[in-house]
Every structure is written in C-alpha cells, then in structure tokens.
Symmetry: D3
C-alpha cells in the first residue's frame, strides 16, 4: 500500500537514530541467544493504523523475527485488545521496540483523530482532508494514516498539486496573470485550486477558471454563501481553525472538502504497550 | 548548539520531501525574479524554540536569502509578536515556507508544553525529563526543544545510557545477573538505571547498586515511600502517566526526575504565521 | 528554475562516476597551479538548454572557478557561436569538462529536437508533450530541456498525475470501477486522464467523466473523429509513433496535446566543444 | 557480469525518481491483490541487452515477483519475439514497468547500434570502442551494452586510463614534460595514450614513448599514413565523426581502434512493449 | 553482537571503494560460472576477531555464497589453523577477497594486541581500555575487536560519555564552572570524568565531585599516590604512553583503568591468507 | 591534489561517527561563544602528510574557523615543530580535534614509514609501491600519503589495473586462456601484470606477453635470476614479506618495483598534539 523503498528508508533512519553503534543495555544485559514472544496491546480504544509498518521495523532490524498482525489497518481496537505478536530473538525485539512503537502510536493516533472528524461530518457531502503540516520526513506515513482513518489526502507535496495562495497572487501581480502563467506551464493532469479570503476574491477565482477554491478562515455564513454562489461548479475546500467542535457546522454549509492541519501537526499518540515474555534459551 | 551536519541532514530530507522535483505553483505563477520580505509572527503565546532551525531551512534552500531572528530561543512571545524576518527571492521564500514552519511550530510547541511542566514543578527538586518517544528522524530537534523549554534530556538513544527494564531482567534471569554483566561490559562513563514497579523491586535495585531508579507507574504514596527509602543515595525518576494535572503532586513526593513521554509523542504545534510582502521586482 | 538540491545531487553522482578517486591524467600531467580560460562553442545550430547546469558542474567541482554564460536557455545558437566561458584552475576545468558537456549536450539536444516539433505544429492548438521515457536519474533535466525547447511537460512521475491505461482498466475489472475508486482515493487536485484505443473506449471514457483522454496509436481519421466527438469538453492527447514527419498532420486533427517519447528516449546530443587556453601559471 | 551493488543503486535511484511517495493511479485503481503475467516483446529487430537489468527492476520493487528471461543478452530478437515474462502482483508489475523499460530499451538500443558498427568493420583489425560520452549516472549500463553489441570499452572513467589531450600538453608545457610526469606518478599498470591531430604530433607522441595514439579528426589518407608510420608498434585509435557510413573506410586504413561517441550520447531506444494480462484475483 | 545496519554500511562502502564499476581482472579472465571453495588460514598465532564480519563481506557481495566459520571470535588460532571456508562462485570469492581480508586482518590484529595488554595486567584490578583514536569510519569494528581481545571500551564517541579535559576547563574558566554546567545540562545517565595532570588538579577534581578521573601522563609514583588519595571513591584511569613494557607497572599502582591509544591507532594487521581451489564448472 | 568530493565524504562520515547528535562535554561545559587558537605540534620526527585534510576537518565542521598550515606535505618536521594553527570558536575546535588528528596522524604515519623504505632503496632502480591492503574507506588518503612519503601507487582498486593471480589462472584453466580473454575484453589503456611464484611460471608469463610480472615471495637469488631473464623487457615487481631490513637487498637484485602491504595495513600513527588556548570571550 506504501511504496516499500520509501518506507524502508524511513525505518532505517529511525533505527539508526535510536540504535547508532548499538543498544548497550540489551547488548550487555543479555547473553544474546534468548528467545521469546512479544505482544502489542491497545491500552485505550483506537483506530489501528500502521500495523505493517510496526512489523516492518522488527523485520528490518532482524529478518529472522516472525511478525503476526492480529488486527488490520482501519479496524477499531478496544482497550486490552491484542494487536500483533512478534517472536524470535529477545535482543532484537527489545532493541527494535521503541522505534516500532513510535511509528505505530503516531500513525494510530492520526487515524483515531481522523476517524472522529470523519464521523462528525457523516451524512454531509464533506470529506476530511489532511494538509502538508506533517512531521518532516514522515509525510508518507502521516498521510497514509489519514486515509486509514477515513480522511482523504490533499496534494502530497509542492510537486503534485497546485494551490495558488494570496502570496502567489501578490507576487504574480494579480490572479489573472497567475492563472494564465500556470495554465501555460504546468502539466494538464493537474487542477488549479485558488485560495480566497472573501466573496470578492471568490468571484475573481471563479472568473479565472479555478477548478477548486479554498475558503480561508471564513465564517460559517460566508462559507454557506460561497457554496450557494459556486453552485457545484467547482470544489470548495474549507480551511482554518477546523476544530472537532466546529467541523459539523462547517460541513453543513455544503462545502466539499474540509482540511484539518491538526490531524498531523498536533498528533496525540495512541497508547500501545509491548509486553515481552521469554520462552526459550537459544535462537534457532 | 546543535551539530550542524545532523541539522542540515534533517532539513535536506524535509525539503526534498516537500519539493521533490520542484514547487510547481510557485515555479509557474511567478516570473522568478520577484523579491520581498516575509515576517513570521506568533499567533498565540508561546515559548520560542528552533528559530535558528527556521532560518536554516530558508538558507539551505537559497543561501542568498537574508534571515534575521527577532526573538531568541527560550523567550516567551505573545500573540502578534514578530519572531523573524526573511528577505530576498519571493519564490525561494514561498517554496521553503511550509518546511520551515513545520519544524519551527513543532519545536516551539514542545518548548511551550515543557515550560508548563517546568513551571508546575518549580520550587521542588524535580526536573522534567523527555523520553525516546520522539518523532522518528527528528529526535535531535525534539530533545533540543525540551531543553529550551526548561526541561532536561534523558539519554538520547539506546547507545548513550543504560536503562534496565523488566524485560531485560526477565531475559537475563534476574537483576543480579543483568547488573553484573552490564558492569563488566559497558563503558565506565555510564551510570546504571533500573526500572522498578514496587518496593520489593526497589530493594533489589538498591542492593544491585543502581545509580538511578525509575519508578514505573507508581502511586503517589508509593513514590513518597521510595524517596524515603532511597534516602538521596540514588536518583529517583518518576514515569508513567505524568499529566500536567498530576505532575506537581508527583514532584512533591521528592523524586529527582519526572519523565514525560507526551512532551514529544503528543506535540501540539505552536501557531505561527508567515506573511509575505513583495517589495521589488528583481533579485540582486 | 530547477530545485537546486535535486540538481546538485545529479551533478555529484555524475562527477563521482567520472572522477572517482581522481583524474589521473590531469593530476599527473599538470603541476596543478596552471590557470586558464575555456570557451564552449556550438559546433552546429542548436537551441541552448542547460547552460546553468553546465556552469554548475564546474562550480560544484571547484567553487573558485568563474563561469560566465554567453547565451541564455531557449536562445538559438549558430555554428561557431560562443556559449560560455570558464576561467580559473586548468586542472579543475579539464577534470569537469566531460561531465559538464555530457549534461549540456544532452539537454541542448532535447531542446533542439523539441523546438522542431513545436515549430511543426505552430498555428494549431496542439502542444508538444514529453513522457516518462527519460534517462533514469536525469528526468528533472530532461523535462526542463523540453520546456526550454517550447514543449510542455506531461506528469513528472507516477505520483503527480493520473493516467489510466488499459492494464489498469483490465486489472480493475472495468473503466467504471477504476474511475470510481480513483475519484474516491486520490487528491482533488488531480485530473483524471484515460487511455483509449478506439471510439468505443472513447465513449466509455467520456461517460466515466474523464478530464483528459489519451488517444493511443489511432489513425489520423479516427483522431479527427475523436476531436469531433469530444467537442472540446475534455483535453485530447495523441500518442504513439509521433514522428516529426507526421506530427503536423496529427495536430491538424484538432487534438490538444501530442506526446512524443522520442524527445527524451532517443536524444541526439547537440555538438558542443570546449577549448582551453592556458593564460597563467598559478591559481590565485 | 555487472557489480550488483552498483546496479542496485542505479535501479533504486530510478525507481525513486518515478515512484516517489507512490504510484497513485495503480494504487487507487486496483484493489492491490490482483495477480497476472506480463510479457515483454520486441517491436522491431534488436540486439537484446540488459535483460537481467530489466528483471532486476521488477525484483527490486517486489521480490515476490517471478521473472523469466526468454532471450539472453547478445541475441538478436526479431519483431514480435518474446523477450521475458514477469508474473505476480499486477500492481507491482504496473508500477515498475516504465523504469524497467526505460533501462532495457536504452541498453538494447545501444547494443543494436553497436552491432551495426561492429558488423561494418568485420574482417578488418579494427575494434569499435565507446567513450565517456554516456548518460550521467548510467555509464556502467551504457558500457556494458556496448560490450553486448560486440563493441569494446575504452577506459571507464578518468581514474582508470590515461589519455593525454592537447589541453594537457599545452598546460604541461609540452608533450615531453607531460609524459615524463605521468610516467613518474601513475601506477605501472596503466598504458599511456596520447591524442594527436597530425603527423607532426604523431612523431612527437611516438618519440615520447606512447603506448597508444588517438588520431583526432584526421582524414582517411592521413590515418593510413599514420598506420604506416606507426608500423604496429603502438595501438592507433581513430576518433571524431565516426559515422556508420564512414566507419568501414576508416577501418580499412588499418587502425586498431575506432571510438564512437554516438553509441552512447545519441542512443535510439529499442522498441519494446510490455503487455499485462490479469490471471488471478489474489496474490499468494 | 554488532548492529547489523551499521556493519552492512561499512561493508558496502568498502566493497564500493575496491570494486567500483567492476573487478576487471576477474570479470575478464573467468567465464563467470566457475565454482570452488576458499579456505582462510592463520599464518601466525593470533586472537581471532571479526570472523562474522569476514563472512558478511562475501555474503554482501553475493548472497549465494556459503560461509562457514571454523573458529569463533576470541579463540586463539595457531599458525596454519583453518579459520573459515567459503564456497560458491569463484568470481564472487575472488572479488570480495581483499575487502574481507582487510577487515578481518585489522580486527584480529587489534584483538591480538589487546590480548597481550590484558595478559600483562592479569591479577591486578586494572582493565585495559581503548580510546577514540580509531580508523575513521571503522570505530564500531575497532572497538568490538578490543572487547574480543579482553579489553574494555571507553566511551564510543563524543555523544555517549563525558570527559572534561584541560581545554574544557580553561575555556569554561575553571573546573567548578565546568562541572556545574555539565551537571545541569547532561542526562543523569552519564558519569563525569575529569582529566588531571598532577595531584593539585586531582584534589580539584575530587572536590568537584568527579565520578572518574583520568591521570594524564603521570609517573608511576604519582599514580600510586593518586590511588592512595582517591581511596577507591572514584575510578582512576591511567593514560599516556601506555606501552606493553610499562603497562604492568602501571597496573600495579592500583589504578582501575588503563587506556591505550595504540590498540587502534597503530594496528599491526594479523597475517591471514585465503587459498582458493576450483572444484566445479558451473554455479548452481 | 585529492578529489574534493571524495575527501569531504570521508570527513563527513568521520565527523558523524564521532559527534553523532552532539559533543556533550563541550556543549555543556562551554558557553559556546569562547574563542581561541589551537596549535598542532609534532611530538616526534615525522614526514608531514595530510595537512590539508587536517584543516579540512575543522572547516567542514565550522566554515568560520581559520586554518593556517605551517608545513607542507612531504616536509620533515622535527620534535616540537609547529605544524598548523586553527583559530576561532573553541567549541568547534575541541569538537573537531579528535577526527582531525586521527586522519592526520595516520597519514603522516604512513608517509613517515614510506620515506624510510624509499630511503632504503635510494640509488637503485626500485620504486616502493603500496597495495590494496588499506583501511576500508580510507584508501584515497592512505595512497595519497604513500605518494607524499616518496612511494608510488600500485593500482587503486580492482577496476583500474589488471593483476592476474594464481587463483585467476587456475579458475581460467591456464595462463594462456586467462591472458587471451583479458586482451579481448579489457580496455586497451591497461597493462597486464601476472603473478608468478617461480622461474617456470615466469617463463609462461613472458610467453603470454605480460607487461609486468609480480614475483611473489621469491628468494633474493631467484629474484636476481628473474631480473636477468626478463632483461628489461617487462616491469618486475617484488612482493611478499618486504620488511625494512630486507628491502635494500631486494632492490639490489634489480627489480623495478617493490610492493609493501605493511605501509598501509600496519600503520604506526605519527605523534601529533593539539594545544588550545583561549584568547577571547565571544565569537565574531
């Protein structure tokens, strides 16, 4: 589901950061040939996301470990539910544990929060979107977790989507020039989205032929007005201060998309524990 | 203050992730020679952290930009306070903006929360510590931000500190064996910390000659008892569910250290905006 | 115009490939302190592309060299025209020469050929497009050169544009399923292009709501028919065997886009020579 | 036949360039568990080169794919001939397709053209040589393809062969100084080749003790004269404008080597298609 | 025992350095399908160290080779003793040979010399320590070999141990300031070691609360005096000119630790040969 | 003199290995703005090698430092001689010190030993050669240091020189086959060297047309006989157990080249100290 080469690169950087020349506690306290099994358990209710990433960390450190997922991404796990098991060298399991949990807890935290937003807008036409406000280096995982939680992805980066903000318009000397240049220069596979702050700018964006329009920090009433004006001809994206408390009200205005930076810039890690039990004395 | 080579590596990964082959909106909407100035402003009260990292992102992308910090790390900025200015190529500023903000907002968010914890324990002997529960790839920044916020760093990674957990003890076949092996094998420059869950284990850890003891998920009363028993001979670290509400009570037991995973695993990004104004038509 | 970090990476790989541990001829035959000036000259008529890349190679190897472009990208240089000058350490110039020329000649070759295609369709509505059939590792340069030559870029890679081919349709079990899934899952910033081989498939693609349609290996007549049927509601891209001889006829059918793999998969390098003259005996 | 570590590095760069964070069309249009088989077929007559590289791309992306070569490097495939089969996950096959073909088509294109040159000089003593005018980053593949086509490799790079050009001589202050310094400084495992433009320079090169002499842009007559003068004591390499039309005539002068930059700087990609058929619904 | 990701990185750099685009002798002289067996033999008495690293080099180059260790790290091999066998592709074995031996001979050389030092202090309380004077890039292997030889590791690097030298004290403006700052700023998991040159500085270090004290270039008598003064309360490390001739005398003063830079900065490679025998004509 | 890109890569790996996330002692003990000057001094007589590498380490860590070499590579420094000065941030100097010294001491150690060998054969025709028995990752520096000491380089790696050993001959099925294949397949820029163990093999190598012959572990008499037999037609290289005691006697046999593995596999580091003095309180 994720491009494996990109995933392995993230995992290698993370393992390297945490292990460097070696795990001195595990390396010194154990003989090295102890084997066992570890169980990952949910300590609160959560939407599971990144269970394969979790397993991949252990296998990247030690391909001889055996990883078995007990839940799938997107499932809701309750407090105490078994999520996954890892068996093999205890030293390997203990050394990989923290990196594996750091990624898994972040991803499940993102999915869990996204699910709350998706649930809040259920029944409306609005989709919950992420943004580029992700943890640097982890975007591929952050955005995947949003999808698992029922959200949708906005553009991945600066290279795969066009979003003309007020700064671009100012620098270009007007919306008409900006859009004209973009039409001339960018691949035909890309739509053009324009950020607007009020109804006047909305009119300009419509006139310029925008495919989508981002309503930046508008009030509920103004958003409703924008929906009415646009009449379904372009996608409307609401953005700015989209809290869980407020999101339903926004969705009810009829906007198509609601982008929520907090999904990835202010993640609350899901609580997952790993318990290890020794079962044997020598790795195969 | 940070090892520059490590910092630049993080920034390059982040820029590459966000820009890849190019920023298509900026590249297409602008001529390319527009110049201007951008101002970063605090949108809520915050402890500033990472202002140099913020600047370094712009300079890494375009060494011809001029960056001027208007606050220093550790200072408290109020809503509306100017944090920094960047001047030069508008295209460069717009392209670097998101990565620069993502790092700066995360770091200031960490420092701001850490400051709250430090303030909460003021007047006690307790220091607030971070953990290894950081965003993979960003630990060097996460831990720096904790220091800026008045917290202290626990070990950086698995290679620079010893922490014997119950899993290590179980795998080693007992605390005595684990400590004996570690004393024999690890550099003399490292102290030995042992995790305990109750008073019985505390006694064993003291008998084994621990330099520091981590009290894992103990109640307030039991922590106080542990402080009394240890009598100042070893450092005591309280850990597990250290919420802002509870941390003062914990500190009042007399523990030396309180480690808080949430400082880095559940960061709330500080709110910072960047406003760009065009001032000229051609870069020097 | 190009993301510098990506460009420098390409240049470093290229220099490393050609120099490895060192240029033994230059290192042994010269004292090392000889200085001089080198002039790059067009040996046939060409569209200049990559002159900054050419210079960047020299400066990456030796930042003390001085590079002066005498033409700009997009200009037409005639046989014998001076393109650029490099002055400084002769050893550095001689060592960087081949890599610099390899990149510059390829890029100018691409631009020159693209210009011929653009000229061939002048006056029609058709734009000349590139493809993903580029030299692995050099796509960012190949595609830039196409723009310099008056062509336009198709999607950069698999991550920034949607093109549903027959294989995708077959694997998905039909065009309806494929488009439905894609609408649900991909960012709203992307258009949907569908490849079709005949009028029946064209109808299906239109019915499925394609934003653009690729006409694969159709005959002139059938393309004209497709243009008529589409009636300007979607972009039509002609593809397959688009030789210079045939491209005008294709453009005259009224298609919007003509993609030409040969622009980048079968490049004829532009002929550029570098002549070096010693002028001094010691580098500053 | 190729150093695997170097090959894998090239493939990883190429896959990363084309896939980045993910193949959005395939990722969205397919369920992900579809399986099938793909067949690579020659669309014109060609010398096969890089069939293992072609397979390695698929296996690097997804080690669970099964690749079966149906031709070997160096064999001539006719239009419609089956070249190779890949079976397994359709999503993996579709995602790897373009990179695999880009490398295979370039390599077979080089081998096919090299074969034409080799055939043209058959019966003479002349060997066809490549140059360092390769696509940056792909030299190891370009030069391997030349060998497959019956050509021979000149030095790989600046570090494994000595070729004294006029610029070196000028900078060194004369051929005698240049050769003397080189003899003193470079490993005894390397021969010394000197570039000359006319008979006078040829005499100097012979007097200086060259092991090989490159005849740069000489006319046929002059080359014949050089062959006569050298009398078999040194290797003679003809270079400069060695077109397919002219190469036989050059070979007939009796030179030992003919180096052809166009083999790698102006490649015409071989035409190869990949057809995918779904065969099952779930990957093993 | 070593963090595999770090080990593989070292091996890849080493193979790349020695093989680059390819092993031309082996590639040209062999058909490529020859198989055989190679035996590594000790040519003088040595302590074996790095036998797994030795094997890993062959397997990194060619995973199809079969490696069998005949000795374990830490064992003493006599002249002529068989150390390991490798079987499979002869071309792979010949190409990997030099890198594999370079690492194995260095590591066994370090272990052999360390063993001599350990033997020399047997019966005293002193442990033999290494330093950071290792071959850049190979520290993880150098320090592992010291442990194999019966030595102990000092801190791995600048990040995992504190050693306050006279330069730090001077720059900080006194030992009291330096220690105070360090206590405030570094993780509680680290001890504080201070370098002293004489008894006066020793007193200051003790007063400052050092956990360990490095006696720099002291005479035997002064070291004995220091041991007496410290009274077992802190670890004492003797350093500076610790030759094999002198080390016993130093150990007899009662110091706890003796650090020896020469163990890793002036390694005498162990003498190991690899003999290859062809046994078959075709790789499986 | 060294390819800078390769040098910087070595230095970055070394700095990263030693500093990782940061130099905790320096970072904590100093304020950070202290400035000073450091002087590198020879503690025994040595041939200076790598003085620019030494400086480059400091500048790579902190480009604001000022480095001044007081000796040039190849000069002999006596005990107490000033080698170089570095001024600027004391924190930067202290952090870079160990890596800078590790490289400089190794290189000067190699040059010093090589000088002894060169001196020993002065007046004979023999040149002292290095081998591929270098510290993995440091070959470019090791081999440069040999040149500085008056030695000469053998091939750099497996890719830039041909040396047919007995294993190659056995695997190829005879010297004739091996040489024939090599002549056919390798670039004409390379000579062919063959290893022989006795006069019979010498005859075969001469008959096969070797350009150079390596006399492996021959006795003095046999070497003299080989020199007589070869009669100056091929280069003769003596190898195996070439100690400083024995090397003159070997040179007196008339061989052209003597290769000495110990120059780089058993380096004795030159003794160099760095003394730092604080001079100011604040970096500019």
């Amino acid at each position: 589901m994720l491009f494996r080469q990109a995933l392995i690169r993230v995992i290698r950087i993370a393992l390297d950061e945490d292990i460097g020349p070696g795990d001195i506690t595990t390396g010194a306290a154990l003989r090295g040939d102890e084997t066992g099994i570890a169980r990952a358990t949910a300590k609160t209710e959560m939407v599971v996301a990144g269970i394969d990433v979790f397993g991949e960390v252990f296998l990247t450190l030690d391909p001889a470990l055996v990883f078995t997922a007990r839940q799938r991404d997107g499932e809701t796990a309750g407090k105490g539910d078994l999520l996954a098991e890892i068996s093999g060298s205890l030293a390997s399991i203990l050394t990989a544990e923290r990196v594996a949990l750091n990624l898994f807890q972040r991803m499940s935290g993102i999915a869990t929060m996204t699910r709350r937003y998706s649930d809040a807008v259920r029944g409306t036409r609005a989709k919950i979107l992420d943004t580029r406000k992700t943890a640097p280096g982890l975007r591929i995982l952050d955005k995947y977790a949003v999808r698992v939680g029922g959200g949708h992805n906005h553009r991945f980066a600066l290279y795969d989507g066009i979003l003309i903000k007020d700064n671009h318009i100012a620098a270009a000397g007007g919306i008409v020039t900006a859009v004209k240049r973009i039409r001339e220069r960018v691949p035909h596979t890309l739509k053009i989205e324009i950020e607007v702050k009020n109804m006047t700018e909305l009119e300009e964006a419509l006139a310029a032929g925008a495919d989508a329009i981002l309503l930046d920090n508008m009030g509920i009433e103004e958003m409703a007005q924008a929906v009415h004006r646009a009449g379904g001809k372009v996608s409307l994206e609401a953005s700015g201060n989209m809290t869980l408390e407020r999101v339903r009200e926004v969705a009810d205005t009829g906007v198509d998309l609601i982008s929520v930076g907090a999904l990835t810039h202010s993640v609350m890690a899901a609580d997952i524990s790993l318990n290890v039990m020794q079962v044997g004395g020598r790795t195969s």
